[in-house]
Amino acid sequence: MSDIALIVLGSSVAAIIGIALGVMLPALAMGKAINSALEALSRQPESEKAVMRTLFIGMAMIESLAIYCLVIILIVLFRNPLLEYIVK
């Protein structure tokens, strides 16, 4: 197999495994966060504002992990810095 084919194969496989893991694990974390927020809400409905605010911010934090994965994967797929060594 030529070098370029190896790079393409490697980065596609890495991208797909990466996005799969990078979506799966934040999804689990989000489920956990929503779960405990709902439990807190059903126990103390009057604390809705504080719980919702914290939940939103926590979800944004968790979600940005998935976004970091996406950004790295887009770099690997479209702007692979390692290609320079082969194409030169």
């Binding site: 504002k49 605010r53 939103f56 911010i57 944004a60 979600e63 940005s64 976004i67 970091y68 996406l70 950004v71 479209f78």
Partner: protein
């Protein structure tokens, strides 16, 4: 992805996202100026809308920072208003959200980074502000400094990644499924644009309040 129309103004090159940003600034400023010209005691419909927006922002800020809320309200409110408009502008055909450009979100995050220090120093003076880097123990100094930079980076990357990935998802679905198919994704775009604007402003608010309030606690000791 990068078909920015850009022209040169001396040594500077002006990109599409900068032009869109200027347009948004112009429109939001004009709307704010026009809507506050003839304020009356019994508000008309426009004034009611504007007052509703301002009161909602005011309440949200005072809930997080009760003591210093009024001081940071102009900055946070500007961020919120600008980001809502900037994120939603991507839905207009022919225009792109300026926030899907990493340079724009980085500029906003750098603004937040500097204003944290500005408001922190202004509230309690340079000495006490710098001392909070040494609390609870001087060993944590490098971690304080690292966290200053990583949270700024995270702020920029989060907004950029969300907006860019949404536009990209709509484009990919249009390529795969054809015309009108990406409409559900565009509906998600509306929600996501509002949520991301809220999150960005809220995190900026929490960073600012954190810098100002930790000083307050130190002062009381």
């Amino acid at each position: 992805m990068e078909q920015d129309i850009s022209f040169n103004l001396g040594p500077l090159s002006i990109g599409l996202s900068l032009l869109t940003t200027w347009g948004i600034m112009l429109i939001v400023t004009a709307a704010a100026w026009l809507s506050t010209r003839h304020l009356e005691l019994i508000p008309g419909s426009v004034q009611t809308l504007v007052e509703g927006i301002v009161v909602a922002i005011d309440e949200a800020i005072l809930a997080v920072a009760p003591q210093h809320g009024r001081q940071i309200l102009p900055f946070i409110a500007t961020l919120w208003l600008f980001l809502v408009v900037a994120n939603l502008v991507g839905l207009i055909p022919g225009l792109h959200s300026p926030t899907r450009d990493l340079s724009v979100t980085t500029a906003l995050a750098v603004l937040v980074f500097f204003s944290v220090h500005w408001f922190g120093i202004k509230t309690l003076g340079l000495k006490k502000y710098l001392r909070h880097y040494l609390t609870p123990s001087p060993i944590l100094l490098p971690f304080h400094i690292i966290s200053e930079f990583t949270r700024t980076l995270a702020l920029a990357i989060r907004l950029f990644g969300n907006m860019m990935s949404l536009e990209m998802a709509a484009m990919l679905i249009m390529m795969v499924a054809g015309f009108l198919a990406p409409i559900p994704i565009l509906m998600l775009h509306i929600i996501e644009a509002l949520v991301q604007a809220y999150i960005f402003g809220m995190l900026a608010l929490i960073y600012l309040a954190g810098a100002m309030q930790s000083q307050q606690l130190n002062a009381q000791e």
